[in-house]
């Protein structure tokens, strides 16, 4: 039975088809070679020069795209709408932010080994949970473990109690809100409502250097591609088929002998972990993290990116994240007061007219033109 089995690594990468690899190849060339070259080598007045602003904006949106794909895994495939993904994103950001704060060193306003907000609060030493955060690898470990553990514990109790649909969405939102209030407190030790900012360096390299900007940009791109390849494998595996089966007929899945709890919990935790990684990549690029990342609106916006792009399509949420965020950065400059109205309108239009989002629209148009 086990003879003639293709090695797992090959199956993992083969799940992404030829077209997918072509797209990834093209995207890699663009993000690893062309854009960095255009940013670093061309003079600022050259027509093809990519500005600081553009690099940071696209890098930021790629982090959002990772979150949108993570949301698709849990919402699109498992049918569980989470309004708590902003929390895992922010926690990942905070975990890495601790390292960024520690590596400011003595260059802060108060020239202290403590962070500025701690000096301001008249603290004499780091709280116990800041121990070891000056080490880069430990910070990475925290990014990978803390949000995922929280997701695991929360998910275990929620899924074991068979909380579903709108109830799950609400309690995930409540959890996020509780954390936001917690992080707003100065006494929590994460900088209160100002959060973390004024970062200086990563691993000794200046955070404002163009090379660092390009590196973070390329890392975000790499992580986005990895997320898509992982998502494609998961959804083409038997695991993915069981997940969509749980979405469509959970009772039947149970009576076939599968325990939905562990299936939901696995994808939920993976999804949270991806959000945390995205958050950790996001914070050094935008240079700030504060509790407003955990606000209600943020988590809802994540769901909108996914819905706009197309649920259950993996690539759709990437398109959704880009479309919504690029129009946001244009809108908030051109008509700042109308942005939220536009976002609301977009959500209503997509929900009513395009249940499959942009990907669904594209498929419909192609189908029509072929006939």
């Amino acid at each position: 039975m086990k003879t003639n089995r293709t090695p797992f690594v090959i199956r993992f990468f083969a799940a992404t088809g030829c077209k997918g690899w072509l797209a990834i190849g093209f995207f890699s060339l663009l993000t690893f070679v062309l854009v960095p070259a255009a940013h670093l080598m061309l003079p600022a007045d050259h027509a093809l020069h990519v500005s600081d602003y553009a690099i940071t904006l696209i890098g930021k949106v790629m982090c959002y795209a990772i979150v949108a794909v993570a949301m698709d895994l849990i919402w699109g495939f498992a049918g569980i709408l989470s309004l708590g993904h902003g929390l895992f994103f922010a926690l990942g950001g905070y975990a890495f932010g601790m390292y960024l704060m520690r590596s400011i060193g003595l260059d802060g306003v108060y020239k202290s080994h403590l962070t500025d907000f701690m000096v301001f609060l008249d603290w004499k030493e780091y709280p116990w949970y800041w121990t070891g955060t000056e080490h880069f690898l430990y910070a990475v470990f925290l990014v990978l473990v803390i949000p995922a553990s929280l997701a695991f514990v929360f998910g275990y109790f929620a899924f074991r109690s068979r909380i579903k649909g709108v109830y799950f969405a609400i309690i995930s939102q409540a959890l996020t809100f509780a954390f936001m209030l917690l992080f707003f407190r100065n006494a929590t030790g994460f900088g209160g409502n100002n959060g973390f900012t004024d970062f200086k360096r990563i691993l000794g390299y200046s955070i404002t250097a163009p090379e660092m900007r390009v590196t973070l940009f390329a890392l975000s791109a790499f992580m986005l591609m990895f997320t898509l390849i992982l998502g494609r494998y998961l959804m083409q595996s038997k695991f993915g088929r069981i997940l969509t089966a749980i979405r469509d007929a959970e009772m039947r899945v149970m009576f076939l002998g599968y325990n939905p709890l562990w299936y939901k919990l696995f994808i939920w935790t993976v999804s949270a972990m991806l959000c945390a990684i995205a958050g950790a990549l996001y914070v050094p690029q935008v240079g700030i993290i504060n509790p407003s990342e955990m606000s209600t609106a943020n988590s809802i916006e994540i769901a909108i990116w996914t819905a706009v792009g197309g649920r259950g399509t993996l690539v759709g949420p990437v398109i959704g994240a880009f479309l919504v965020n690029l129009s946001k950065s244009w809108f908030t400059v051109a008509f700042p007061e109308y942005w939220l109205f536009f976002l609301g309108l977009l959500f209503v239009v997509v929900t009513l007219l395009l249940p499959q989002g942009m990907v669904g629209l594209w498929q419909k148009l192609r189908h029509r033109s072929m006939r």
Partner: protein, 266 residues
Amino acid sequence: MSDTSVNMAHGMGENLSEPIKNNSILQLSNITVSFDGFRALNDLTLTFQVNELRCIIGPNGAGKTTMMDVITGKTRADSGTVFFNQTIDLSNLSEPEIARVGIGRKFQKPTIFENHTVFENLELAMKVDKRVRHSLFAVVDDLTRDRISDTLRLIHLGEHTEQVAGRLSHGQKQWLEIGMLLMQEPQLLLLDEPVAGMTDDETERTGELFNSLKGKQSLVVVEHDMAFVEQLKSNVIVLHEGSVLCEGDLATVQANPKVIEVYLGR
């Protein structure tokens, strides 16, 4: 009497050398289930033998579906015991665990994965390791393919292998669900109105399928279609207000004045 032998076998623990006179696959003893004061099952005691086909009939509200819910773990009994294979106490197990010990259930309304293909429906039902760890790395191998094509032949869906299950006709969906149960290789099959909504021709073919399973698997069929029950030529149990009204072959049962009264109303 059979009741005590079950309890004894259980009390003896894992002592399998003890000769077991009672050859029951499923033993329900004094099961009572109430919903808001309404007794859906009232001190129900029933025994099903290994490799036997039994039909259960009864008017609406007699407790047929509740009985299936209790067996499969969907509903917990207020009192009474359910033993599977004489030693497995089902009241401590969850729905997936009960499915894994070897009880398959078909719902009244065909419940299949509408967005999956016929092949995938059967693949997911197949008796394999059902843990996440296994599903993440599982591949469709030749053994799976063979088992699926055997089942497809039995349920007459060979030409629809790659079709999305949601596009099947009602009768075909019923068959697919039966096929999924067979893929599970259960020792006991519970079928809640398996021919509801089928054409006469489909009903007859389903009867043939069940008759061919007789002696290989234990089957419990809940049905309203008397012609179908007749075709199965099995022992019939009549449920009424949550307990057994009478038992026997179809002709005897239909001649029973109590049964006639229950069906024709008071």
